[in-house]
Symmetry: C2
Subunit: 509 residues, 2 copies
């Protein structure tokens, strides 16, 4: 017998992320304070947008103790005017990993339902202080909680709860916690984060007060909000046997025909009948009587049936070309902007829309291409080289083909929105190169490159023409004068009509 | 009151990874079959090494159904001769996320305790088939289990259990499962994975049979194994308040002095006393009476006290220069190899060792640098551009400084071993650029670059010398003959001694 040296044990979800905080974006004090801010701001914007409230988000970081040159203790306070968290959910929503409101098929910034709790957990393990949460859904009461997380048991420990009157019927959430962070190293990223968030959320008011008391205001320039994202049923192409099994367990449908139309995205009576016929499934079969191999066969047919309608993009909430251009003009002030929104597409049954913009000249001055990446309106600031958009602009597009030299100052903005962003890490920093997504980004950026190419070559023509015209303007009078003298005339010929004529010529002819 | 549209709910750990399988390396059928193979092989190698058994690992992938041109159903079987899983742990170890044997501070390939269960989960959701596990720790019995995972409850569902006699006292584990995968797209990576695993585990016998029945054998060329990695206590620099709290809850130590020496890595009586004095903590204080702010203050002092000994590397199990060179020569057959092992270092209290090798010429023929990355003997094959080693060789080292031109064919091997590899993703594909780790890799690769530079310039000298010598050999006889004729001598002077002399000259003088 082997005296096996392996010891088996179990850890809680909170413990897993406590041990592996690197993978959730909390790898060092600089990254941690950035991630904490980001997670809370995203939760605030999500709740506002979902409830169609123009967001007012206030963030304050204040110094508590330690040496500000390196990692020190800071207090973070984030306030929003969103929907608020119902009182019975407050302890769990903030003090338990894998408990949250993001586990729906819907376009939200948050996807893992993890970030807020991770930030609280990180604050706790570095400062040992509880988090303070105040929230109201706009009822007559405001609820206050102080809590810590029992990491080994993945449970909130409520230290105090208070209720106060809410005469103003305020709704929203306030979170305040202490955390060890390296603010001054994280500062450039944090400011970039706010700037870029403002670029794609021009309807939000964001106020940020930093530890030195400096105030950064990002004011809305519109109150027009994109329509709220809706929850959708799974698309037949995206399901697996686990999903089907869960649906059969929970369904009230009595036969396969209504099973199909009730539980799947864009499956109507007619398509359901046609599909069941092709899959050789009895339309009258009780879904609860599907055997194991029936489910496997059903999934295979769902994936291969050609006549399902593509996912509907009405569940998505893209920015739209108008808002995108507004945002880019506001934050980058370029000489030239072109925007492009692709038609809705889908990967593995999840619909998505790619929106892109290109900005050139003006205050865009750094030579080369600067890439701004967004996913469901989150700016992605780290690990650019692993992102699909980077792959597209740096290896798949031949810029010389568009006569755009490497030193031309360009900014490219790529926004992907989807009910499920294919992130490659829990830290939500870069997007996988799913072929369908890559193709849409590629085509969109090509479209922009064409437009910019046209603009640049027109600009060059205009410059060449102007140069030519300048030469004419300079020498024509001399020639006219000389000719007049030669012909013995006392008055020069009028050259104005001639010059006008020249300036109208297309210099390319 | 806001009719908040957010709905709060909880999901299980298995459900979380089911929904977000991309982040665990199961993003598509090609990646999934690669990850599944890798996770099982790593578990097999880990258990063998931990129990000091030279590994015999057998992997077979066989075709089950579907179109082999794309995603199809395959059966994967992995057998090892490791320590085996005790029967009472089999269902949980294979059917429950966050249950395993990797939650110790010890150098192992596995770190998340997640991979095997993820592979089983992925197999289940794509094929709806149970996994078969057979294992024995070398007792008189062999235990067989068939099980599936209840994903929503994160629990194994045992379908059948059998016990049979084990007269041969076999020990090890056999896992067999069905999975949807795209074998032929994954094949190059899978073969690379085996080849590179063989490179850093020259003491392992690995046999792989692919779906076409092709046999790949990677035979050990040594039975000498690196010493097994040991579990270590946490180092004072690496702890946080959560760790201290857990230790105080569990400790039997009656005073702070014994608390320090019992629970921390490399803290002896003398250092403990000195530390407690500096931290102004009473050595006789009962650890269970530490108040919340005492713990925070203790952690700050632990991090800033200068006299703790650095982490001991005896817990690590590097390959060693000899085994590394053997592996590189065996798999790459280059003209020149240099290896380098750095002294043990530490980041955040986790000790690590960097080992590197450089190979040049011979069968290394592709122009440019090919990078082979390893972490705790796992080959890392994806997302190279995000890895710290890539950063080092592509941006931090100035190869021209070493007179190594960009088109010179080089292979660089970087092996990091640590009780905790700072992975940036659950998929274990790339390592974060922790400054301490980056510095060690940089210095090590610089050392190799110097050695290679010397070799190449010597080689060039030899070539130049040979060229010079060839010219002499060609013209000297002519000159000698001409001189002889001129002098009226009938016999040419003997030039042999002269040529010998020249060939000994250092051409650089």
């Amino acid at each position: 017998m082997v005296q096996n040296k392996e010891v088996f044990s179990e850890i809680s979800p909170a413990d897993f992320f406590y041990r592996n905080r690197d993978i959730a974006g909390f790898s060092n004090p600089s990254r941690a304070i950035y991630s904490a801010i980001r997670e809370f701001v995203e939760n605030s914007l999500d709740t506002c947008e979902l409830n169609a409230i123009p967001p007012d988000v206030y963030i304050r970081i204040s110094y508590v103790s330690g040496d500000m040159e390196g990692p020190a203790t800071y207090k973070i306070r984030v306030e929003d005017n969103g929907g608020g968290v119902p009182p019975e959910h407050i302890p769990m929503a903030f003090g338990r990993v894998f408990y949250g409101s993001k586990y729906k098929l819907r376009q939200t910034r948050g996807t893992f339902g993890l970030g807020g709790t991770m930030a609280i957990l990180y604050g706790q393990i570095t400062t040992h202080k509880p988090v303070y949460v105040m929230s109201s859904t706009g009822t007559s009461k405001i609820h206050e909680n102080e809590l810590t997380i029992d990491i080994q048991r993945n449970k909130p420990v409520v230290l105090s709860q208070r209720t106060k009157d809410n005469k103003a019927r305020w709704h929203g959430t306030v979170v305040e916690l202490q955390i060890e962070g390296d603010y001054f190293r994280a500062m450039p990223k944090i400011l970039d984060y706010f700037k870029q968030t403002a670029m794609v959320s021009p309807y939000a008011d964001i106020v940020f007060v930093d530890p030195r008391g400096r105030l950064y205001m990002f004011q809305r320039n519109t109150t027009k909000m994109p329509s709220a994202a809706k929850e959708v049923k799974p698309h037949p192409y995206g399901v697996d046997v686990e999903t089907i099994q869960r649906i059969t367990r929970a369904t009230d449908a009595k036969d396969m025909a209504s099973f199909m139309t009730t539980h799947f995205h864009r499956v109507g009576e007619k398509i359901a009948q046609k599909f069941l016929k092709e899959a050789k499934i009895d339309p009258d079969l009780d879904p609860k009587r599907l055997a194991s191999h029936d489910i496997v066969s059903l999934v295979h047919h769902l994936k291969s049936f050609k006549e399902f309608l593509p996912p509907d993009a009405s569940c998505l909430s893209p920015l739209g070309e108008e808002l995108l251009e507004k945002g880019v003009r506001k934050e980058l002030t370029p000489e030239f902007v072109a925007v492009d929104q692709r038609k809705p597409a889908a990967y593995s049954g999840f619909s998505f829309i790619v929106e892109t913009a290109i900005a050139y000249g003006g205050e865009v001055q750094r030579p080369g291409i600067e890439l701004y990446r967004f996913a469901n309106r989150i700016p992605l600031l780290y690990d650019e080289a692993s992102d699909v958009s980077w792959k597209v602009i740096s290896t798949l597009i031949n810029w010389r083909h568009y006569k755009i030299a490497p030193e031309v100052p360009i900014a490219i903005i790529v926004h992907l929105c989807s009910t499920k962003i294919p992130y490659k890490s829990v830290g939500k920093e870069f997007i996988a190169d799913r072929p369908e997504v890559e193709r849409e980004i590629l085509n969109s950026v090509r479209e922009l490159a064409r437009k910019l190419s046209l603009f640049i070559s027109r600009k060059a023509s205009v410059e060449r023409e102007k140069e030519k015209f300048d030469i004419f303007t300079k020498y024509m009078p001399k020639i006219a004068h000389f000719s007049a003298k030669l012909a013995g005339k006392s008055k020069d010929a009028n050259i104005e009509p001639l010059l006008k004529n020249i300036s109208k010529l297309d210099p390319e002819d």
